[in-house]
């Protein structure tokens, strides 16, 4: 443990203006992350729209833990470790569906959607009626809370409420989640493996406007010299330590649709909901255009292309990315179809942007495992000391591209990793 703390302190600058890639490669740190990051932080499980009826369920992960999320017959959302309490066998093997109960295939113990042990074969004859079914229900994820449709879980029974955890980030999330009375729905999911450390992926979501101009050169006007103006950089905002979002402030003289470069059908839709957005979000927020973001530790967002994703860690050198499309539930089907098509053309495993991101994340991870490479500092100093505030925008603001959000991410990581055990 002390060795881990020493390594953390050696590997992240006090102001996080540099880090050493030890924190990507070290096996012991990865083990500690499972306990202290994934065992204590609020993690996205999914969206209420994925559980449309009593008995609806889907599988996911919290860190490396296999999770079963259900809607009980009473309509409540619950999450459990996806394992039978008898011998630890995997309980549910389907990715999603509807079920009245879950039967373990090993010895046949059966559980209700609310996790209660319903029956075990031979209860009377073999267990002499002495099996306490109350005690042997499924292991519940200690806390499950929703924020405007998004469902989060936390293994820590003493965790702060989700709303407190999100803090000011919620004010920005509302631009996506609360702009219409009907809320949002998640479509999908695309799932794929990338041989990259989860933090390499997360830091690219939380901040890093800087990479867009080069990594995504194939999607920008060419040649670079001919671009009339520098690529417009979003303001990087650190609403709370660890969370981050990149937001464009749309000038009064252009519409959000023009900023997004949407098809006319989508523009028309955006015009049609402008009044509702203003009513729900006030004057300022409808003019904010979220580009990218991250809710610490692993809920990534590319709102400009309707993508919400969870970065599931699989050992220090691999992630499984789960990417969903998020759309307004009450948008016309045609608008949803256009937004989904745009989204997957750009993001996801075959997306014109994300293919190149994944190549970079893989390269960083693979090339920093060596004894020499992992001990040298990597730079995160952009904009250090130039953070500011913008009236009306909660949180600290990098006024253009800046590493402010990545520094916040790593400072939060250090705080969680070196904090006392819950």
């Amino acid at each position: 443990m002390n060795a881990c703390v020493d390594l953390i302190e050696r590997s992240v600058a006090p102001d996080a203006s540099w880090i050493r890639p030890d924190i990507f490669a070290d096996e012991a740190l990865y083990g500690l992350e499972q306990e202290r990051i994934f065992g204590r932080c609020w993690l996205l499980l999914g969206h209420e729209s994925q559980l449309p009826e009593p008995g609806s369920f889907f599988r996911t992960h919290m860190g490396e833990e296999p999770i079963l999320v259900t809607r009980t017959l009473e309509g409540e959302v619950r999450a459990f470790l996806n394992l039978c309490r008898h011998r630890g066998a995997q309980l549910c093997h389907e990715d999603r569906g509807v079920a009245k109960s879950f039967n373990c295939r090993y010895h046949g113990w059966a559980y209700a959607c609310d996790g209660k042990l319903l029956a075990a074969p031979g209860e009377k004859q073999l267990y002499y009626g002495e099996l306490d079914k109350e005690e042997w229900g499924l292991v519940r994820v200690a806390r499950v809370e929703s924020y405007k449709g998004l469902v989060f879980g936390n293994f820590d029974p003493d965790a702060e409420p989700l709303a407190d955890y999100l803090g000011n980030m919620a004010w920005y999330l509302d631009i996506l989640l609360d702009r219409r009375a009907g809320g949002t729905e998640l479509l999908g999911v695309q799932r794929w493996r990338i041989p990259a450390n989860w933090k390499v992926v997360a830091e690219n979501h939380v901040g890093d406007e800087y990479h867009v101009g080069f990594t995504h050169g194939s999607q920008l006007p060419r040649p670079i010299e001919s671009r009339a103006a520098p690529i417009p950089m979003a303001r990087e905002i650190r609403p709370e330590l660890g969370h981050g979002i990149g937001v464009d402030v749309i000038p009064e003289d252009i519409s959000p649709g023009e900023r997004g470069g949407f098809d006319e059908e989508v523009n028309e839709y955006l015009r049609s909901i402008a009044g509702e957005m203003k009513e729900r979000l006030g004057e300022m927020r409808p003019r904010l255009f979220p580009i990218h973001g991250l809710v610490f530790p692993t809920l990534g967002m590319i709102p400009i292309l309707n993508s919400i994703r969870v970065i599931h860690p699989i050992g220090p050198g691999e992630v499984e990315l789960w990417s969903y499309c998020m759309v307004d539930r009450d948008a016309p089907q045609k608008v949803k179809d256009i937004l989904v098509q745009r989204s997957i053309a750009a993001f996801g495993p075959a997306g014109a942007f994300e293919q190149d991101d994944s190549a970079n994340w893989t390269g960083v991870t693979r090339n920093t495992v060596g004894h020499q490479a992992r001990k040298h500092r990597l730079n995160l100093s952009m904009g250090l000391g130039h953070e500011g505030e913008v009236p009306g925008l909660p949180g600290e603001v990098g006024l253009t591209a800046s590493d402010i959000n990545q520094r916040g991410f790593y400072l939060r990581w250090v705080r969680e990793m070196t904090g006392e055990s819950a």
Partner: protein, 179 residues
């Protein structure tokens, strides 16, 4: 069982061999000539799901595993989308394919299906696609292709392709090549 049209089968096998070779040789200019401008190219997501009732043989289908109504594809391109994909590959800044991957596509199990009134023919086939970017970056997948080929100038043109990958989670970093 309908009798096999040996000539048709031979023509199709040749068409698929040539298509695979052109993609592996990165001759996208020639490959695009094999593709109809009205094409739809889709790669569904796939899920492990419950199947039909016990004993209901016909209900245990692959379709239940694939992208449903409120869902997403991995790829959903029209002709312009495919062209954009290829232009990107040759933009000099598509880093996932810089330098280009070394690929090999092997197409087998070519099975002609229904012939439509307009001469279009459904074809099922199996694809093995190997991709190497050096010894530490190799990936391999298998898939079913469900194609609709149109007839033109005595040959075939791809009018619709659905690629059903034999995995629920895509392995191998990304899907940077055409399947």
């Amino acid at each position: 069982m309908t009798p096999v049209d040996a000539q048709l089968l031979a023509d199709l096998q040749l068409w698929y061999a040539r298509e695979a070779r052109l993609l592996d040789e990165r001759r996208y200019d020639l490959w695009l000539e094999m593709v109809d401008v009205g094409v739809r190219y889709q790669v569904p997501t796939r899920y492990l799901t419950a199947q039909g009732d016990v004993g209901d043989f016909g209900a245990w289908t692959v379709e239940r595993e694939l992208t449903q109504a409120a869902d997403v594809f991995l790829i959903d391109d029209d002709y312009a989308g495919i062209r954009t994909r290829i232009e990107r590959l040759q933009s000099g800044m598509a880093w996932a394919e810089m330098p280009p991957s070394i690929t090999r596509r092997i197409v087998g199990n070519v099975e002609p299906g229904e012939v439509r009134e307009d001469g279009g023919i459904e074809v099922f086939s199996a694809l093995m696609a190997f991709k190497s970017r050096g010894p530490r970056e190799r990936s391999f997948l298998t898939a079913q292709r469900r194609d609709l080929l149109g007839r033109s100038d005595g040959g075939f043109r791809l009018r619709r392709r659905t690629v059903i990958i034999d995995d629920t989670v895509l392995m191998g970093e990304n899907l940077s090549i055409i399947l």
